[in-house]
């Protein structure tokens, strides 16, 4: 096992980041021009990093798979972004934001990283306002805040229900300015297919031009991965259709550690699956749980009648309904954390009480809220969400209860990085959802946007210089280096292999199968048995993929099926690693729930004695079991507690 060095600076928690900045190495302006940086991805993290690095004077090459950087899936975040501004004078502070995030992550994140995140959160809001992001304001002209799950203060800044969109467009506009000023060169409709390493350092990538199908080589002094999470391993998730884990996975295959792969967040309030051709799941803001009451029928026969369309939910009397969250968690009721709410819904549906045509849904009822607050108030608060629901489901949530079901939403796991956001491969960095660093085993609402922008605007632009300061003597690389030849040949072989299978199954067919395995056996309630079954089934699926896949069309041409096949191949391997990691982690924490490890009341039971570590998986080669290295998590400043939402 390798010793993991997370490079956390010495000193008291609140001084670590300033100490680091005071003593790190910097690159002077003349030298910055001579240094190339590849940034893969244009979401909140990628766009903000590319823009900031470009403004500083580095020569940045920025890649995205969509037609424009503005399409990145950060754009879909609804709720808001946290910051410790304490504008509401309600007792917020950097420490409180730090503490809430650590606790929300079930004590599986690094203290120093999370503290830094809370520290720079305020600068993010300043930056975004200066860019012209239209945050919600009060009549006095100052910024408005709302409260979010897992916090006792109002610290969430928002722009209607489109905070992610506005923040991304802010970063995108900064990026477009950098492109205009020729600090950043943009490569759209390009997909990174491999990382190129020279003498043990990350020195470039191979990307496929998705329009022409041609493979292209790009060299740089450093490579930054900002490609988001791997939630689409589950096929159905709230991620965008092209969201994928392939860039991160290629880094893993080149030796970068993959950390905590099993930690995936399932969001409780999504619109349920309607049929087998469902392509993705739509999330509805968690804020709905503030006023909606979650229930299923008390009697099995009522549930069955509802599923068959013989009974309407509004016909059931109060005493025939089971408000199971209020019943099980009297203190928090419908406002228990995401993971608890999700598991409880699945438990009811598995027991046969589910509603909807598929039986995979529970009710979220606003009847009582409408009676208590009036329809106007409810409409004012949730009108846009109700309208979205009605567009999709064609039912009026003012009149009949909404149906919801949990769906995969975010992956806390990702490429392992140290305090400098550098992976164990020198010159390879990972930021945003693509890395594992700040959310531990569970992410709090409104923290993803904060982390993406913190990494991109305020952390990486500093820490990357500490690495690049030693690279100023290194001339620009030519892409005819043998390592580029080898990498390109590797991809060509891989593509040829896939194109030549000529089987009978479409990519989506196999992907759905993968999703089914992941949801059933590596989903919300995992057991030794289910995980072992998953590993067995995934092995089979891998074989199935390599023998039955069919990709029409040519490889040197636009070929969407080929793009999807390459991603799917990686998803299957990611799924395997998730199962291995979940099997290893014999405890329950945050988004990872092992049914063997729960309290007598059915709550997650953490094991700090044996599992207080980050699992850092190291690739060993095709068909070889990966090796797990452990980065111990030492809590110097926070006392860990068991979560309790009952009383």
């Amino acid at each position: 096992m390798n010793k993991i060095n997370s490079k956390i600076p010495a000193g008291p928690l609140e001084n670590k980041w300033s100490n680091y900045k005071d003593h790190q190495k910097l690159v002077n302006p003349a030298n910055k021009r001579r240094l190339d940086i590849i940034v893969v991805g244009t979401g909140l993290a990628g766009a903000s990093a590319a823009a900031s690095l470009g403004e500083m004077g580095f020569n940045v090459l920025n890649f995205c798979i969509q037609d424009s950087p503005r399409r990145a899936h950060s754009i879909a975040a609804q709720g808001g972004i946290n910051a410790a501004k304490n504008y509401q004078n309600d007792g917020d502070s950097v420490y409180r934001l730090f503490y809430d995030t650590i606790k929300g992550g079930d004590y599986r994140a690094r203290e120093a990283n999370v503290y830094r995140l809370a520290e720079v959160s305020n600068s993010i809001i300043d930056q975004c306002v200066a860019q012209g992001v239209p945050f919600a304001r009060e009549y006095g002209g100052l910024l408005d805040n709302r409260s979010f799950g897992g916090a006792q203060v109002s610290r969430t800044f928002y722009a209607r229900g489109q905070t992610g969109q506005q923040l991304l467009l802010g970063a995108y506009s900064a990026l477009m300015r950098a492109v205009h000023n020729k600090h950043v060169t943009l490569y759209t409709r390009h997909e990174m297919l491999d990382l190129v390493m020279i003498d043990g350092r990350a020195r470039g990538i191979i990307a496929r031009d998705l329009v022409t199908g041609k493979l292209e080589r790009f060299s740089a002094h450093a490579v930054v991965i900002a490609t988001g999470g791997y939630g689409n391993t589950f096929f159905l998730s709230t991620n965008a259709m092209t969201s994928n884990g392939s860039a991160a996975w290629q880094c893993y295959r080149k030796g970068a550690y993959f950390a905590n792969p099993c930690m995936a967040q399932i969001h409780p309030t999504c619109i349920p699956v309607h049929g087998e051709f469902q392509s993705k799941l739509t999330l509805m803001s968690e804020s709905l749980r503030n006023d909606g009451r979650i229930w299923v029928p008390k009697k099995l026969e009522d549930a069955k009648a509802i599923r068959e369309g013989k009974l309407k939910p509004t016909q059931l009397k109060e005493e025939e309904r089971d408000y199971y969250l209020e019943r099980r968690y009297p203190a928090f009721g419908n406002l228990v954390p995401r993971d608890v709410a999700s598991r409880a819904a699945k438990e009811r549906c598995d027991a046969g009480y589910g509603v909807g045509t598929t039986g995979l849904a529970v009710y979220l009822d606003f009847k009582e809220a409408i009676e208590r607050l009036g329809r106007d108030v409810v409409e004012d608060k949730y009108g846009n969400l109700f309208q979205m629901y009605e567009k999709i489901v064609d039912e009026n949530p003012y009149e009949t209860p909404m149906m919801i079901f949990p769906a995969t939403h975010y992956t806390m796991g990702g490429i392992w990085v140290d305090y400098e956001l550098m992976t164990n491969i020198p010159g390879l960095f990972a930021i945003g959802e693509a890395n594992f660093s700040d959310h531990g085993a569970n992410r709090l609402g409104a923290s993803a946007l904060m982390q993406g922008l913190a990494d991109g605007y305020f952390v990486l632009p500093y820490t990357i210089q500490n690495y690049l300061a030693d690279q100023i003597q290194v001339p620009r690389f030519k892409t005819d280096h043998p390592e580029f030849d080898a990498a390109e040949k590797g991809i060509k072989d891989r593509i040829n292999k896939l194109m030549n299978i000529k089987g009978t199954h479409s990519v989506d067919h196999i992907h759905k199968e993968l999703g089914h395995i992941m949801w059933e056996y590596v989903g919300m309630g995992r057991s030794k048995e289910s995980l072992e079954t998953a590993i067995e089934k995934l092995k089979q699926l891998k074989k199935d993929f390599l023998t039955n896949l069919r990709i029409p069309g040519n490889k040197e041409d636009m070929n969407v099926e080929l793009e999807k096949a390459l991603r799917l191949q990686d998803f299957i391997e990611i799924g395997e690693l998730m199962a291995h990691d979940a099997l290893d982690r014999e405890e329950s924490c945050g988004g990872h729930f092992r049914i063997e490890h729960q309290t007598p009341e059915g709550e997650a039971l953490r094991d700090d004695e044996n599992f207080s570590y980050v699992s850092c998986w190291e690739y060993q080669g095709e068909d070889k079991a990966p090796v797990m290295n452990k980065e111990p998590l030492e809590y110097e400043f926070v006392v860990r507690q068991q979560r309790n939402y009952k009383s």
Binding site: R71, P134, G140, A240, P552
Partner: protein, 251 residues
């Protein structure tokens, strides 16, 4: 209540920008009206792949109406017959059993076709590059509450900023004009004190870039506003005209 329907599709197929395109006819049976339009397209593509044929290429990504990647001109409407939604949120319950659905790409000289239903909208990025930003570097910005902004202005800026850059305005316009898109960005910044210092420069350079890229002249038909999935108002265009003329005449 949603039922299953049979539909006929007339879809534009075109291999490359240079090759001539044509319509191809397809039939699909038992499509659930609860499916989204793009899920119906997925079913068609799955069928084509199973027959060993190349699937229809179209742009799409988030499938929740916010990324702006999906397009499609469906039966005479950009984003189809439903109101205030993108194609990805259009549902098959808007169609009846036996309907023929004609699906075409966005048509505009500034949005050349790449393949089938996929068009190149990088012109929009280029317009933003010309000035769709506030020129601030990262860091060194004043406190977020240092400059109060009246709620009215912040809300108006947000209304304009809701644009998703899908290009339906251009697709709907008989003049292939991008004025709604450009005006939304100019208005957003014109409403905010942060955008004021370079307002004149922004209006001039964004309009110049828009003209250079071959978008047409706005004749105020209002089709853009009707088809905009995010309800961006054409009063933004008046605002852009105002900002532009002020910049030209006032300087």
């Amino acid at each position: 209540m949603d039922k299953n329907i049979n539909i006929k599709l007339r879809i534009w197929r075109q291999r490359s920008p240079k090759e001539k395109g044509h319509f191809e006819n397809y039939e699909l049976q038992n499509i659930s009206q609860g499916s989204s339009f793009l899920e119906m397209m997925d079913i068609l593509n799955e069928k084509l792949v199973n027959e060993g044929k190349e699937p229809v290429v179209f742009d799409h990504d988030c499938r929740e109406g916010i990324c702006g990647m999906c397009s499609l001109y469906i039966n005479g409407h950009p984003h189809g017959p439903d109101e205030d939604v993108t194609t990805c949120q259009l549902h098959m319950r808007k169609f009846d059993d036996g309907d023929t659905i004609t699906v075409e790409p966005w048509r505009s000289a500034a949005f050349p076709i790449i393949r089938d239903l996929m068009v190149d909208r990088t012109a929009f990025d280029k317009i933003i590059q010309a000035g769709g930003y506030v020129s601030v570097n990262t860091g060194g910005t004043p406190d977020a509450n240092a400059i109060p902004i009246p709620k009215k202005n912040a809300d108006a800026a947000m209304d304009a900023a809701a644009c998703i850059g899908c290009g339906a305005c251009v697709a709907a316009c008989k003049n292939g004009s991008a004025m709604l898109f450009v005006s939304a960005k100019v208005t957003q910044f014109a409403q905010l004190p942060q955008g004021k210092p370079e307002a004149a420069r922004r209006a001039k350079s964004m309009v110049a870039k828009m003209d250079e890229l071959g978008f047409g002249n706005c004749t105020n038909t209002g089709a853009c506003e009707v088809e905009c999935p995010k309800n961006i108002s054409i009063t933004n265009i008046a605002r852009l005209n105002h900002e532009f003329l002020k910049a030209k005449i006032g300087s």
